[in-house]
Symmetry: C2
Subunit: 571 residues, 2 copies
C-alpha cells in the first residue's frame, strides 16, 4: 500500500499514512499538484510556513521501463506566485517508489534557522539536525552525505541559493555517479525547501526487492517492445550521441536561438557551442569526460554527458542545450569551457541555469556586465552565495533583475524566464509559454520538432496537445524523450499502467490524465489571482521583429484565451 509521508519541520514530527483513496492512481506532477491544490492556500507567502513542498515519484516510477524515474517536486512558486511542478531525473524517484512512498509532504518551517536532513531508510524515516551543513554547496554536501550515509543512497538537496531563499533556486537530485547534477530547477523550489529548513533528503532502499506489478509478464513484454523501438529510433539515437545539445543547430537554423538577451534568433558563434562541438570536445579530451551518460538507472536514451577540462578532469555533468542557449548565446558567450564553468557554479549553488542565463542577459543589456564577458559573468554568478546585492538580484531571476535595472525587454512569462526557444521563431512554444500554469517552460509542452514553426496557424492545437501529453508523462514519471516513440503509441502507456495497477483504464487514459492535471493547476492559479492578463508573452515580442526572419509572435491571444477556457471546462 503506497504511503504518504508528512514531515512537520517545526515540530519534527513525521507521520506515515496510506495514500488516501482520492489520490490513488495519481503520481508525479498529478499528485504534487493535487496536494498543493487541496492543502496550500493560494495567497500564502511561498517562502512562509504555510507553503508545502511535495516530492513524488511518478506512477511508473521504480519499474523496469526505461526513463521512468523522474522525480516531481511541487509547491507554490516564489518565482511565479502560482503552482509549480518541476521534475528531474537521477536516482531518487525509483528508490522512493521501491520504498512504496507515493509522496513526501514537507510542512511548516524549522525554528531558529535550524536545518535538518530527512533520512529515509528501509524501515525508518527521521529528521536529523544538520546545522554543520549550513552554507555548503551541493557538491561538497552530497560528498559528505554519501560518506556518512553510504554511496548507494539517492540524495535530494539544495545548495546555498536555496538556503538564501532566492527565487531561482532549484532542487538537486543525484545522478548515477552520485553527483548532484539533475535538477528540479525551475520556479524556485529550492528556496521553498530552504525556507522549511530542509537541506537534503537521503534515500536508502537497500534490501528492497523490486516493485510488485499486478501483471508483471505483460508489463515486461510491453517494456521490452518499447525498449527495442527506442534503440531503433533516429531521434533517440541523436540524443545518445549529442545529448540535448543536438537541438542547438536546429533552433539556430529556425532563427529562434536566444541571442544577446533575446534580441536576435541566430548566433554567430553557434558552431563553437553546438552538439558537434560539445561531442568533439568531450571525446577529444577523454579522461573522465563522457559524451553519453544515463541520468537514471535503466535509461536507454543516455542523453546526458560529463564535460571534462583539458586535463580530462570533470568540470560538470551534464551540459544541456538549455544551459548552452541561456548562459551561452543569450549572453554572447561562445566558449564551452566558460559555459561549463558557469553551469558548475549554478549546480553547486543550486540555482536554475535558465533563469540565471536570462537574468545575466538582462544585466548585460543594462550594461552591468558586458555582453560576451564570461569572466565577469562567472564572477557575478559566484556572488550568489555571497549574498551580495548583485548576487541576490540575479538569484531572484530575470524579471526582478529587469525591474531593478530598468530593462523592460525581459523574456519571461508569469515571472519565469523563457527557455532556449525564442517564441517568435518557435510559435508553438510561445503558446505553451503564455498559457502553461508553470510560466514560460518548454518542458510543459515543447513543439520545437513540429512543422511550420514560423506560422501562427495550428500552433494553439500543437501546444495544447503537447501540454496535455506532457502533464500525463510528468505524472507517470516518464522522460519526455520517450515521446519520440510513445507519442505515436499512447495505448502502450495505458497498457503499462494497467499492467502495473491491475485495473482497466479507458482508451483515452493519457489525455484524460493530462487534462485533469492541467485543470487542477489552472484552478490553483485562478484562486491565486491569475487572469488572462498573465497569459501573455512580453509585449515587445508582438512588435519587435526577430532577426534573421523578421518574425513577431502573432498567434492571436483571443484564440489562445478561448482554447484555454475550453481546457478549463473540458471534462
Amino acid at each position: 500500500m503506497a504511503k504518504l509521508i508528512r514531515v512537520n519541520m517545526k515540530t519534527q514530527e513525521i507521520t506515515e499514512r496510506p495514500l488516501p483513496e482520492s489520490y490513488i492512481g495519481l503520481g508525479g506532477r498529478g499528485l504534487t499538484s493535487k496536494i498543493i491544490f487541496d492543502e496550500v492556500s493560494p495567497d500564502c507567502d511561498p517562502l512562509g510556513p504555510l507553503n508545502k513542498l511535495i516530492m513524488a515519484p511518478g506512477i511508473l516510477g521504480g519499474t523496469s521501463l526505461s526513463s521512468s524515474g523522474r522525480l516531481s517536486v511541487g509547491a507554490k512558486s516564489p518565482l511565479t506566485g502560482g503552482i509549480k511542478e518541476s521534475n528531474a531525473g537521477g536516482n531518487a524517484a525509483a528508490k522512493l517508489a521501491r520504498l512504496d512512498i507515493a509522496a513526501i509532504i514537507v510542512e511548516q518551517s524549522a525554528d531558529n534557522g535550524n536545518i535538518f536532513v530527512l533520512v529515509i531508510a528501509n524501515e525508518e524515516i527521521k529528521l536529523v539536525q544538520a546545522n554543520d551543513l549550513k552554507g555548503l554547496g551541493n557538491y561538497e554536501l552530497v560528498k559528505k552525505l554519501r560518506g556518512q550515509y553510504g554511496d548507494k543512497t539517492g540524495i535530494i538537496s539544495i545548495g546555498t541559493a536555496g538556503e538564501l531563499g532566492l527565487a531561482a533556486a532549484g532542487v538537486a537530485v543525484t545522478d548515477m555517479d552520485g553527483e548532484p547534477s539533475r535538477f528540479s530547477g525551475r520556479g524556485g523550489l529550492g528556496a521553498v525547501m530552504g525556507s522549511k529548513g530542509l537541506k537534503a533528503v537521503i534515500i536508502n532502499d537497500e534490501g528492497r526487492s523490486k516493485l510488485p506489478l499486478e501483471d508483471e509478464e505483460k508489463f515486461t513484454k510491453l517494456a521490452r517492445e518499447i525498449h527495442n523501438e527506442l534503440k531503433e529510433n533516429a531521434t533517440i539515437q541523436g540524443y545518445g550521441k549529442y545529448g540535448t545539445a543536438g537541438l542547438l543547430d536546429l533552433v539556430n537554423e529556425l532563427g529562434a536561438l536566444p541571442t544577446k538577451n533575446f534580441s536576435q534568433g541566430r548566433f554567430d558563434g553557434a558552431a563553437k557551442i553546438n552538439g558537434e562541438a560539445l561531442y568533439q570536445t568531450i571525446t577529444q579530451r577523454g579522461g573522465k569526460g563522457k559524451p553519453t551518460h544515463a541520468c537514471m538507472p535503466g535509461c536507454l536514451i543516455k542523453c546526458s554527458n560529463v564535460y571534462p577540462d583539458e586535463n580530462g578532469e570533470v568540470v560538470v555533468a551534464p551540459v544541456e542545450y538549455e544551459t548552452i542557449g541561456l548562459l551561452g548565446s543569450n549572453c554572447e558567450i561562445d566558449d564551452l569551457d566558460a559555459i561549463a564553468r558557469l553551469n558548475y557554479l549554478c549546480n553547486d549553488q543550486g540555482i536554475d541555469t535558465i533563469e540565471i542565463g536570462a537574468a545575466l542577459g538582462v544585466a548585460m543589456e543594462a550594461g552591468v556586465i558586458p555582453f560576451g564577458d564570461a569572466e565577469k559573468a562567472e564572477k557575478a554568478v559566484a556572488e550568489i552565495s555571497q549574498g551580495t546585492v548583485l548576487g541576490r538580484l540575479l538569484g531572484n531571476g530575470a524579471v526582478l533583475t529587469g525591474r531593478i535595472l530598468g530593462i523592460s525587454r525581459v523574456p519571461a512569462v508569469k515571472g519565469q524566464a523563457m527557455p532556449s526557444y525564442d517564441p517568435r521563431g518557435v510559435k508553438g512554444n510561445g503558446v505553451t509559454y503564455a498559457t502553461s500554469p508553470m510560466g514560460a517552460d518548454h518542458t510543459a509542452g515543447n513543439n520545437v520538432r513540429g512543422k511550420n514553426q514560423h506560422l501562427a496557424e495550428g500552433q494553439i492545437e500543437n501546444s495544447f496537445n503537447a501540454q496535455v501529453l506532457m502533464a500525463a508523462y510528468d505524472s507517470l514519471g516518464l522522460c519526455i524523450f520517450l515521446g519520440a516513440v510513445l507519442n505515436q503509441k499512447l495505448d502502450y502507456v495505458r497498457q503499462l499502467v494497467a499492467a502495473k495497477i491491475g485495473s482497466e483504464l479507458p482508451g483515452d487514459y493519457m489525455t484524460r490524465l493530462g487534462k485533469s492535471v492541467l485543470q487542477v493547476e489552472l484552478g490553483f492559479n485562478a484562486k491565486a489571482g491569475f487572469t488572462s492578463a498573465q497569459d501573455r508573452l512580453p509585449s515587445y515580442m508582438s512588435s519587435e521583429r526577430l532577426s534573421p526572419n523578421n518574425l513577431v509572435f502573432d498567434v492571436p491571444y483571443e484564440e489562445i484565451d478561448l482554447r484555454l477556457d475550453n481546457l478549463r471546462r473540458d471534462s
Copy 2:
C-alpha cells in the same frame, strides 16, 4: 475659459483646448484622476509611452485664500501599478491657475532619449530641447533654469532618479525661495516624467492680473474670516513654530514612531530629532536657517523650515516630520544633521524621502547597511544617481528592496512604503493605508490627531471620513493643514467655491466631491486588476506586537472590505 494643454513628447506638438464641458468644476486631484481614468489604459506600462502625466492646480488655486496653491500631479504609478496623485506646495500651481490652465497632459515619449523642457509664458507654450540638462540634480537644474528664464518663474522638475526611471522618483516644485524643495514625492511620478523625456516645466505668469472671481467681495470676506481663525488656532500656531516635526513627540508618545524598520514604536533618540530639537538647532545656528517658512505665496501657516549647518549655510529646506521618521528613527539615525544631508541627497536626486527611508530600513534589516550608520546610508543614497545595483535597488522602493534582499518584514501597501505612523499604533491610518487607492499614504486620510488611536473601534469611519475630505481638499488645491479650521466649517469651503465659480452648490458639496474622486480612482484600480487582496497591510502587522504597547493591527478586514464596497456604490 480654463484651458487644457496637451503636450505630445514624441511629435513635440502642443495643443490648447477649452476644458471640456464634462471636466468643468474639477481641479487638482479630481481632474488628474478623471483624465487618467478616461485616457490611460489600466494595463499600460507605467514607464511606457501610453501612460500620461497630468499636472493640475486645484479648483481654488491662484486665489487669495491661504494655502490654496497645491499642485496635483497624476499618472499610473510605476510603484503601485495603480492610479496615482501626489500633490505639492510651492509656487507653480498658482501661476498655472492665473494663466487659466486647468491641466497639462503630457503624452507619449520623446524619441532617441532626447529630453526637453516645457516653457509656459504668458501667451506662448513651447517645448525646448535640453539635452545639456541631462543628468543634472534638481538644485543645479533649477539654478540654471532660473538664470535662463528668470527668477520669478515657477519650476516643476525631476532630478536624476526620474531620468533613471526609478519607481520612487518624485516631481519637485520650486518654493518661494526658488528652491526645488516641495515634492509630489510619492508613487514614482518623477519616473513617469522622466520616461516622457520631460526634465522640467517652467512657468512664467508675469504681467497676468489676478484671477477673476465671480463674487470677489464675498470670496474676500470669507477668506479673511478663515485667515483670522487660522491665526488663532492652536494647532496652526504649533505648525508655525515646530512645523510638521511637532508631530514627532505625539507619535512617539503614541508608540507609533517607525523605529528600526517598523519593529518598534518608540525611539530612544526621539528627543534629538523632535520638533523642539529642530527648532533649537535652527534658531541657535541662525544664519540662513529659518525655523518657520511659507512654502507657497500667501500661506499663513508657514509650517516649512530652512535647515542650516553649523556655519549658518543652508543644508536643505524643509526637514519634514515624515522625513525625520523614515530617514531618522526608522533607520535608528538620531542625528538631525545627517537626516538633513540625506534629505538634501533625496531632493537633489529627486526621490521620495519616505520610500528611501523605508528601503534603507529594509536594507538595514538585511544587514547591507548597519542600523544607525548614517555615513553608510548617505553613501548608499548617493549611489542612486550613479545607477549602481544598490542605488537602483533602493531607488525602486522598499518592496523590491525586500524581495531582492530576502526581507519579508516590509512596511508597505500596494507596493508603496508606509509613512511615519506605524498602523498598529495609529489604527485609523492603518485603515487609510489599506484602502486608499494610492497605497500606503498618510496624506490620503490622516487620523493621527484623532482619539483612541490604539483601539480598533471607530477607525474605519474615521479613516473613510478623512479620505473623503482629503480627496476634496486635494481637488481644491488646499493644504490639509487648513483642515484644523475648515473641517469644522465645511460650508465655508462650499461658499468659497460658489463665490469663485458663481453658481450654487449643494450643501454636501465637499463630501460629494471627495466621494466622486475616490470612486473614479477605485474604478481605475479595479480595471488595473486590484482586488481586496491588495487592501491589506503586510500580514506581520496582524501578528507581530509593536512595543511599547504590544499592539497589533486588528481592525477587521471584513468590515474594512464592506465599507469600501459601500463607498464604491455610494452615489
